[in-house]
Subunit: 230 residues, 2 copies
């Protein structure tokens, strides 16, 4: 019998690859996406397309009003998403695209969903190498969440559930991720990583596009997702 | 200068008392409430009235779609809130009113709000004595969340913030809580604890009403909140 797992799915390159990895490892993935007031809400359409293409039986899109707090250029119209930064720039400090406590909120919701589903596994596409400097993408954060999770739920406390949080991309470069996903048959044309994505596709200039394009280049592959016409 | 603090405020007896305690300890409380699809959403009106009466400058009501998961009689129309249980019954096991991972989600959102506000303190009205058997009300859960919080945010990682999670009711009985709130001038007629609360007031029969009524009785006080006419 297959093991159910909750996979956090934004519709981007990383989370889509994680979905393919979870399936490849024999899990039955249930996908969870968030409408949190992100400017690039078109990513939710990608998430739905990816979930359908990969045969996911349950896909929830949860509304969480994080944009009401402000404090991030991903959700706050008064703040601009940075563009044109080099790979070296991206490694310096925590950028304005950081959304306060976002992964804590997403994992907390995934935990609730896992408990309702009777799932013991949560997958998240965080990555500590080719990443944007976000604190809630580090291994110590994931370990602390796993510890919390096993104190938090009725099922865990009653001994019916032991939650494992899987972050299979943690030590991979973007090129590694693209290669692994390609090997597993991921169709990256469906995925959208861009922080400014809209009907035309991805901008090609934000940090997320810069990291993605470099990953494809290093893997010797062409990124099939549509980019804004120049 | 006063210290800002995020206070989780449901509009019930416990969280309202916590708000009074936070203010009494010299914090400047910012209140955070949740519209999570609870059947007793009238509690949000109490939360707003309490926040206004207690001079709270900022009060956010965040929408989080937890009811979409189901799995709790507080949010799922197919499940009945238990009524008529005695105090001894309530101590046995985890009841259907448990909402999977609710306090994890609420604290995660409070953490995001705290980071945006530059607040280092989060107050939550959990209680391990006269409580409903919820796992996410225990001291070890609160400690694990505090540990997570200090690994999660940009502000914590950059050394600009150290999050403390305060649970001042943890070892108090309901009678202690009512006495302390009364001493601090809380107007409990504004608060609603009932899981089935509606326009008429509180039901007087659910676990939350049973615990509340016993608390007032033990404190030798009369509960001024309106109950359903008999």
């Amino acid at each position: 019998m297959s093991k159910p797992a909750v996979v956090l799915l934004s519709g981007g390159l990383d989370s889509t690859t994680v979905l393919a990895i979870a399936r490849d490892r024999g899990f039955e993935p249930c996908a969870l996406s968030f409408d949190y007031g992100q400017k690039h809400e078109v990513e939710l359409r990608s998430a739905s397309a990816v979930a359908a293409a990969m045969g996911v039986k349950r896909h929830e899109v949860l509304h969480v009003g994080l944009s009401e707090f402000g404090g991030s250029s991903l959700t706050d119209d008064a703040m601009e998403v940075p563009v044109g930064r080099t790979h070296d720039d991206i490694g310096e400090g925590i950028p304005s695209t950081y959304v306060p406590a976002r992964n804590t909120v997403f994992l907390a919701c995934a935990l609730g969903y896992a408990e309702v589903l009777g799932a013991e596994h949560i997958f998240i596409g965080v990555n500590a190498l080719d990443y944007s400097g976000y604190p809630d993408c580090r291994p110590e954060f994931i370990e602390a969440f796993e510890r919390l999770a096993n104190l938090a739920t009725a099922a865990a406390v009653e001994g019916r559930q032991h939650i494992s949080v899987h972050a299979p991309l943690m030590t991979m470069t973007k090129a590694d991720i693209v290669r692994e996903g390609t090997r597993l048959g991921v169709d990256y044309s469906m995925t959208v990583s861009c922080y400014r994505a809209d009907e035309r596709g991805s901008c090609g200039e934000c940090d997320s596009c810069t990291l993605r394009l470099r990953g494809f280049a290093e893997a010797g592959l062409v990124d099939p997702t549509p980019y804004w016409p120049r």
